[in-house]
Amino acid sequence: MPPALQNPFLLWFLLSVALAVLCYFTMRRELRVRATLYGSFLLACIVAMWPPYGKDDTPGKIHLGLDLKGGIHLVLQVVTDDALNATVDDAVSAARTQATAKGITVGAIHRLDATSFTVEGVEPARVKDMRDILHDYFRSPEWDLREPGEARFLVKMTDSYVNQVRDRTVKEAIRTLERRVNQLGVAEPIIAQHGARGDQILVQLPGVTDVEQAKRVISTTAQLSLQMVEDSAGSRESLLDKTQGKVPDNMEVVQGPGREPGQPEFYLVRKEAVITGRDLKNARAGVDGQTNSPDVNFSLNPVGADKFKRETGRSVGKRLAIVLDHSVISAPTIHSQIGAEGQITGRFSTQEADELAKNLRAGALPATLKYLQQLTVGASLGRDSIRQGIVAAGMGMAFLAIFMILYYRLSGVNAIVALAANLLILLGAMAYTGATLTLPGIAGVILTVGVGVDTNVLVFERIREELRNGKTVKAAINNGFDRVWMTILDTHATALIAAAFLFQFGTGPVKGFAVTLVMGLIANIFASYFVSRFIFEWVLGHRKAATLSI
């Protein structure tokens, strides 16, 4: 195929133009426009779905679900209370630090539950100062400050803040999982917020057969390392130019976000890490005193501090990559020797700085994950399923085709053409929207075919009835189609209501069923009503028929 035709839109456009020309010369005036429109729509569907299934190197346009392809499906519960506890713990330690700094003697500051803490036994003379501190630090809309008794304060997270933290925790966990899953090199993984309360995560890894490895990667805590940067570039090729395309033995290439969003940057870094997550004592988001921009302060344990001091002393002016789960978070320049305490500055937003600090602290996962559901489909079961599904669909359609031709003769052929158009639209729409075909989805296709034929039968029976009542062929066809229009709308509407409810089952095979059913029902109105009617008018015009083969 010439390269210009690789562009699907252009290909479709040219085919449509060709079709329009063909229609102009072969069709009667009143049919031309419709023929071109319908035909070009069907062409669009063919172009969208081609090639439908994948060969070894090129993936097909129809996405196959886990149950057909094999793979892993996990539902994880994010224990968001962990993150709330951590937030309140941070608040408690901030309050303590401030009280000490101002020289206020306090009986106790401790966490009450996941969302609140109390300050008790404040020395009477300094109650006002303590109140000022708490007012400063724990303002609405995030915190709610109360004084339930003399020299006692109750600080509680507001509901909106609780929800915000919960939501952020789930999103952070999702990002972390995404980073980890990327290491597996899975095509089209799905990692998404899930569940009625939104505190679950759905992970789908189609085509993955090594369950053990996948679970290990997902459940390992994050690997943090600080590695010296040798060089960086916008692409792997230009990065390795100087070394003749080879990665030196003591180096490795890691990827990270570049200057422009969406553009990766490649780093050549030393394999041996300067320090790793194990050397880290604490990390906290703060504000850089000079530039007033958000940064992250971290402290190291004595062993780590020693190593870090030595290495940074030697490498002032060089860059240090902060690598989390094999991807570079940032690569700041070392300005001076760093010891037990250091600073990471970058182009962070406050929230990003906060997140990075949390990642560094907690080994990347902001909360514990619990497994709720796990589904693995072996490749052989998947293969059997797809084969049986296709055989069943093929047999079903063959039954129908034979029956329709026996019972309605040439009009049966019309119904079969409509059926083929129905299938084309269904598959084209699935390819175009990226919907997933599951095994129940194949059942949905088969059912769509059944309902599509039902539409044809409704129309054909009505036409026969009109012919029996002595109408001319043309009038019978017009009446037949006109009279059943409302019925067809009604039947499709109720079926669509049923399908809409099936959508509520979230992802998974049943949703695949709902998707094919909805698309099939809509395609069906077009194919079995409009296309079929067009074919009748087209064929009858040629023959000026007095009889109809029905």
Partner: protein
């Protein structure tokens, strides 16, 4: 070719006998379910389901011996066609929240050591924690009920009277009850797929009812003087050919699904096969008579044919 030319059967006259059959089927289903219970699929009940594909024909006794070594309460049966060498192992529990699959892994390991002469070449697992199972059960019931309710509202709205919607909905309830009963009696599990089939056949049965009701509405406009019972009976006759052919063709397609669609879809296809038969029947013998009865009931109370206007 044509099966029926101008059929003129007295459908509504035979309602009482067939109503007896319907009630018998429903009662049998309910009695069976209340004494034996329904078998839920693993997604609803929670637990572990493992489908292992062996190299050669597996001996269930040896598989059981290996499984019993590491866990208790397992249900073991051959799965799919015997030539596929598959065994289904159901455990009532999971491995725990930390690692759901530990009991499934233990079973696989035990199979490898205690039954080494026949290797497991491929396995599929479905492991569902108790929270998800309960949540899904609740959701399934909710969705089915709301799905029915919305369809009732739609039909009531389209036909301008609650009687039509109610009649169609009672017919659909009848279909769902009979299908559920037969599923239980024939030992099929209630899985998500089966719920999907039930909701679909709800749509299908409504579809069938609407076709006849549409025809009744059309006839009502032209034949104002005639009794409603006769109009409905005529409408059923006029659409009979369509009813039989389109149910027949849909039946053929789901039959193909039942016969060739494989083990995973067996329950789904069974529900559809039963549902299409029952759904077609219930339109004629449940939904239509209800409208007639309602009309008669109103006439008796008010002594006037005014009831028809309300339909």
């Amino acid at each position: 070719m044509e099966f029926l030319k101008n059929p003129n059967y007295d459908f509504l006259g035979k309602t009482k006998i067939l109503l007896g059959v319907s009630i018998a089927l429903i009662v049998a289903g309910i009695a069976y379910i209340s004494s034996r219970g329904v078998r839920y699929g693993v997604e609803f009940s929670g637990g572990t389901q493992l489908i292992a594909t062996f190299q050669n024909r597996p001996e269930v006794d040896k598989v059981r011996a290996a499984v019993d070594k590491v866990t208790s309460g397992a249900v073991i049966q051959t799965y799919d066609e015997p030539s596929k060498n598959r065994v289904l192992i159901r455990l009532p529990h999971t491995g725990g929240e930390g690692d759901l699959s530990s009991s499934a892994d233990a079973v696989l390991k035990s199979l490898a050591t205690s039954y080494p002469e026949n290797k497991v070449v491929d396995s599929s697992t479905e492991i569902v924690g108790p929270i998800v199972g309960a949540e899904l059960r609740r959701k399934a019931i909710q969705l089915t009920v709301f799905g029915l309710l919305f369809q009732l509202l739609y039909i009531a709205f389209r036909f301008g009277g609650a009687v039509w919607g109610t009649a169609a909905t009672i017919a659909v309830f009848h279909d769902v009850l009979i299908t559920l009963g037969l599923l239980a009696i024939f030992g099929y599990e209630i899985t998500l797929n089966v719920i999907a089939a039930l909701l679909t056949l709800v749509g299908y049965s409504q579809n069938d009812t609407i076709v006849i009701f549409d025809r009744v509405r059309e006839n009502l406009k032209q034949r104002r003087k005639e009794p409603l019972a006769k109009i409905i009976n005529d409408s059923v006759n006029q659409t009979l050919s369509r009813t039989i052919i389109s149910s027949g063709t849909t039946f053929l397609t789901v039959l193909a699904l039942y016969l060739f669609g494989g083990e995973v879809l067996r329950g789904f296809a069974f529900a559809m096969v039963i549902g299409i038969i029952v759904g077609t029947y219930s339109t004629i013998y449940i939904a239509s008579p209800i409208v007639v009865w309602w009309d008669n009931f109103r006439k008796r109370r008010r002594g006037a044919p005014a009831a028809r206007a309300a339909l």
